[in-house]
């Protein structure tokens, strides 16, 4: 049963990755836009894996770790969004997200440890 579950998970991941890489995307102009579409697909798939860990995590610390990694993936997403749109202020959003994620992770660590916030 355990090996069957392992095999089914591996099959699902491989099918999603091959669909992400080899799926034709019509009506696009250059090879750069096609490449960036595939990059967005893979990043959304990684975010789905993180959300699965947030939903199914056995302890609260697991959910905190998965939220941290989800924030890091969103930073990468905002950075890549700057290429096809040609705007620079997406990277400002990424820097602000990194700051906010660091502060909130410190607060979550203190909360899990069982201490007050003003100690």
């Amino acid at each position: 049963m355990r090996k069957l579950r392992w095999f089914l998970g591996l099959l699902g991941i491989l099918a999603t990755l091959t669909a992400a890489i080899t799926l034709p995307i019509p009506s696009l102009l250059s090879w750069q836009s096609v490449y960036l579409e595939k990059v967005f697909f893979i990043l959304i798939f990684c975010s789905a894996l993180c959300l699965w860990r947030v939903l199914m995590g056995p302890t609260p610390a697991d959910r905190a770790v998965a939220l941290d990694i989800l924030g890091i993936l969103i930073i990468g997403f905002c950075a890549i969004l700057g290429i096809p749109t040609g705007r620079d202020w997406y990277i400002d959003i990424a820097i602000a997200w990194a700051l906010q994620s660091f502060i909130s992770m410190l607060a979550l660590g203190k909360y899990l440890e069982g201490r007050r916030f003003d100690e």
Binding site: V39, I42, T59, I75
Partner: protein
């Protein structure tokens, strides 16, 4: 037609994507919170930093490129600190290790002192 720095930047973005994907796979597959933390922090220092460096190579020395370098610096400074805080608070709040773990030095040291 295509600049060489754009192509090298796209190669760096692909390397970062590979590290992101395997980090998230470890986040799902590993049995313990400490193993999961060990795997998934590679998303930060190799994955997202490589994506931002590829963006810097794509943009060159403009506003966006310099901001990407600043974001790399900030990520490398803060992400290990937050990972250490999370691991320490998880150990202090009583999360058990995996049953096949070999040793726990932090527990021994906190018993001694």
């Amino acid at each position: 037609m295509n600049n060489i720095n754009e192509i090298i930047g796209f190669v760096f973005i692909a390397i970062g994507l590979v590290f992101d994907f395997f980090g998230c796979l470890g986040l799902v597959r590993f049995p313990d919170i400490y193993n999961r933390l060990h795997s998934s922090i590679k998303c930060v220092t190799l994955g997202t930093s490589s994506i931002l460096f590829g963006l810097f190579l794509y943009k060159g020395f403009t506003h966006g490129g310099i901001k990407a370098l600043l974001c790399i610096l900030f990520l490398l400074l803060t992400a290990p600190v937050s990972a250490h805080v999370l691991a320490r608070s998880a150990h202090k709040s009583g999360v058990k290790l995996w049953e096949k773990s070999v040793c726990d030095k932090y527990e021994e040291d906190s018993r001694k002192s």
